[in-house]
């Protein structure tokens, strides 16, 4: 299979990556090259094979429901692009 320019633009939009027409053109060629490599998978007979999501067969650990961390809001917000009064600032989303 091969992707279309429209699909590349759509995927870039889903991934929230601004893409110019020239970049989309380049990406189309590259992605099709990569997908021709990936297509080799389709020839494998995997009927009845259980998908393996993870290398280790371990169950999620649970922890006690109690406070274990100290408040580090100031330190963590010091690296944010824009904050005020302990809040992260973003462009207005609700009119």
């Amino acid at each position: 299979m091969s992707l279309t320019l429209e699909q590349v633009r759509r995927v870039a939009q889903l991934a929230r990556i601004d893409i110019s027409d020239a970049e989309a053109d380049t990406a189309l060629g590259e992605l099709n090259g990569i997908f021709s490599l990936i297509e080799a998978m389709q020839a494998a007979d995997t009927a009845g094979v259980a998908p393996m999501a993870h290398a280790l067969d371990i169950a999620q650990r649970l922890r006690d429901d109690r406070v274990s961390e100290s408040d580090q809001r100031a330190a963590f917000q010091a690296v944010a692009p824009e904050t005020a009064d302990g809040l992260y600032l973003v462009p207005k989303v609700i009119e």
Partner: protein
Amino acid sequence: MIERSLKSLAQGLAKGEFSSVELTQAYLERIARHNPEINAFITVDPDKSLAQAKAADLRRARGEAGPLLGIPLAQKDIFCAQGWRTTCGSRMLENFVSPYDATVIERFDAAGAVNLGKTNMDEFAMGSSNETSYFGAVKNPWDPARVPGGSSGGSAAAVAARLAPAATGTDTGGSIRQPAALCGLTGLKPTYGVVSRWGMIAFASSLDQAGPMARSAEDCALLLNAMAGFDTRDSTSVERPAEDYTRLLAADAPAKPLAGLKIGLPREFFGEAERAGCDAAVMARVDEAIAAYRALGAETVEVSLPAMQLSVPAYYVIAPAEASSNLSRFDGVRYGHRAPEYSDLDDMYSKTRAQGFGAEVKRRILIGTYVLSHGYYDAYYRQAQRIRRLIADDFARAFKECDVIMGPTSPGTAFRIGEKAADPVQMYLSDIYTIAVNLAGLPGMSVPCGLANGLPTGLQLIGNYFGEARLLDVAHRYQRATDWHLQRPTALAD
């Protein structure tokens, strides 16, 4: 001093031959002299390093001891280190100063090791040549026109150029083993879950694993002792008793130290037709290494890993899928780059990510987003996970016949900077021998096994789950009988 092993440096420190401050200073001077050419480090902060060295000297003066107390180490810039700029090789994190320590950093701090600086890497660890770094390509100290491999290329180049005695790396598809092979080092990717991933910037979480890069298996074992261990903050950290990874590295050297060891040689590496996939000179060095192992008493058996031929396609579905999810956190809100101009929130996200990520990272996010999107999930992601199972089953079958699997680490020696940069598929195929190990979650090593046309080659050793100590011993025995791991680039000697 710069040729001494970690053990020998520790002895020097213990005997008072030199202080940690003096040792650290010596390496910082080498970095100042040679890093402008090699570009192995993104961030060096002599004041911070020397303060740590001073603290280590003080701890020793108070009677403390330890194999890494006062030893300077280079840290891959994927590990968050408090107060250090931590970029992951990306413009997205160009000015990010971490407010906390990764578990690996914390554990080295506790052991008294000194952070010499943060090493260059492919952006978000996506690459096999270090050319995708926002901070510029790293040069291979064996030939500055060539790549050091990737993604832990800065760490590899730093150790090969003797700008650090050892370093950390991370390996998602070969990112410790391939640069180790291309720079003539010993590198170990542990079993998935052995080293905590907490504070290690995520690429593909079901594959990522940190490990040591050094000049010998013995040095790697010492580093792994500090790095490995259960950590509640990483939900995939394996809860098992602490191990001394040096315990099998016995000093005795009987005539046939590896008698009884069964080495599996996969048909997919060593078959008559399959050999053509590897550079002939590299294959010749690997054959010689296998012969050396036979001389040490090991026997070889043929094994087969038929699904391995699908490891690269499966990996380039699974790793980008996980990456597209992991990297969605970089949105210009909580940390990292934010576009200077935008209209609304969506526009801010899209411009921030377009500016902050480089071409390879974007490519992988697009692949990942596509394979996870509605209508394609079963054909790609699900199929890749099924192939992953077949690959893991192949290894399980093979390990019934042998103790360790061997083969080449990389299909060629270090390639020229720019040679593969324009062709992602060619670049992806440079990890053809290493990727299956990550998909299965097994431990893998690369050990120097001689030069081909003046460039280092690597022998890959693959062990069974949690077989690190045995793997390190198998590598160590070879290194006691050969001196390939002691070869160093002739440049940068001053």
